[in-house]
């Protein structure tokens, strides 16, 4: 299986973290809700969840990052809206939420994104893999 390396995507979003704030994060959500009539956004502000989940017609269309300007999207329509309202958001477009086809260079991201222990999430060495599903990345940083 060909793996997709998203190391640079993560580093790019982290570099721009200083320009990202709650106001911009909420502005993206408002724009999505205004332009996609059947969209519903879930985000627990009280908890400070790391991602807002965007559902369109009861299916997950994408996730918008709270801590850094990043979006992981399956819907091209959603990707276009995010690009229009926030041009500096790093967008990772995916086709499958649960296929373990993504990799990162841990040596480059480990010191910046500290939460990577889940990637080696099993004690069974025969199952250990460095490739991960993008949804697991989102959940682990939620």
């Amino acid at each position: 299986m060909k793996h997709i390396d998203i190391t640079q995507n993560l580093l790019q979003s982290k570099e721009l973290a200083g320009t990202w704030n709650l106001e911009r994060f909420l502005a993206v959500q408002s724009s999505i809700l205004a332009q996609l009539a059947e969209s519903v956004i879930e985000w627990d502000e009280g908890s400070g969840e790391g991602w807002a989940t965007v559902n369109i017609r009861n299916e997950v269309a994408g996730y918008i990052g709270f801590d850094t300007p990043i979006a992981v999207v399956k819907s091209s329509e959603l990707a276009n809206i995010v690009r229009l309202v926030a041009t500096d958001v790093t967008i990772i477009e995916v086709t499958n939420w649960d296929l373990p086809e993504y990799i990162v260079d841990l040596s480059k991201v480990k010191s910046i994104f500290t939460n990577w222990s889940w990637i080696f999430a099993t004690d069974d060495a025969t199952k250990a893999s460095k490739a991960f599903a993008v949804r697991d990345l989102v959940i682990s940083t939620m």
Partner: protein, 178 residues
């Protein structure tokens, strides 16, 4: 054990084996809180029957039997199915809301938080189910509160639990279910 609060109904509580001498939470009758510093197997005995709340907003009566905890060879706390993702919980145990993350109360930091999350995950498995879109379940701790919300500083008795496809879990104090 001290009785923290009185409820009119029989309350189910997610047992948090608080190991700290300063606070001892009353759970409910017939449930023993085992001090994990005394027993490395973190055994929690007892079962309870009462009314519980899931994120669907539907309360239901259920029996919850906490399972024994242990450590993986990497030192991660586990209940045999779920494994604690410790880094995922650290932002919620800094003691400060300035990072925009909800915070566990002092009695629920460290190992106590991990036990709470493992129990909440097990409870969600048995009763609530999981939101497949974000791997999340919401569980009410009826002898809370357990944390403080980042948005308004209010205390909360709700726990958000998140699990990956490989059953790594972490959690945080969450907003009340609307």
């Amino acid at each position: 054990m001290k009785r923290k609060e009185l409820f009119c109904m029989t309350s189910f509580t997610v047992v948090a084996a608080t190991c700290f001498a300063s606070v001892s939470f009353a759970v409910i009758d017939n449930v023993q809180i085992h001090n994990s510093t005394m027993n490395p197997s973190f055994r929690i005995a007892g079962a309870s029957l009462g009314e519980v709340m899931c994120s669907t907003g539907v309360s239901k009566k259920a029996t919850f039997t906490p399972v024994a905890k242990s450590r993986t060879k990497e030192g991660r706390l586990t209940d045999g199915k779920f494994v604690i993702d410790k880094p995922g919980m650290e932002p919620h145990q800094t003691g400060s809301l300035s990072g925009g993350k909800s915070q566990f109360l002092q009695a629920y930091v460290g190992e106590a938080a991990e036990i709470l999350i493992l129990d909440a995950a097990r409870f969600a498995d048995q009763n609530c189910g999981w939101n497949s879109s974000n791997g999340k379940a919401k569980v009410l701790v009826t002898n809370g509160p357990i944390g403080v919300l980042a948005s308004n500083g209010q205390k909360t008795s709700w726990v958000n639990v998140y699990k990956t496809s490989t059953n790594f879990v972490h959690g945080s104090p969450g907003s009340p279910q609307e």
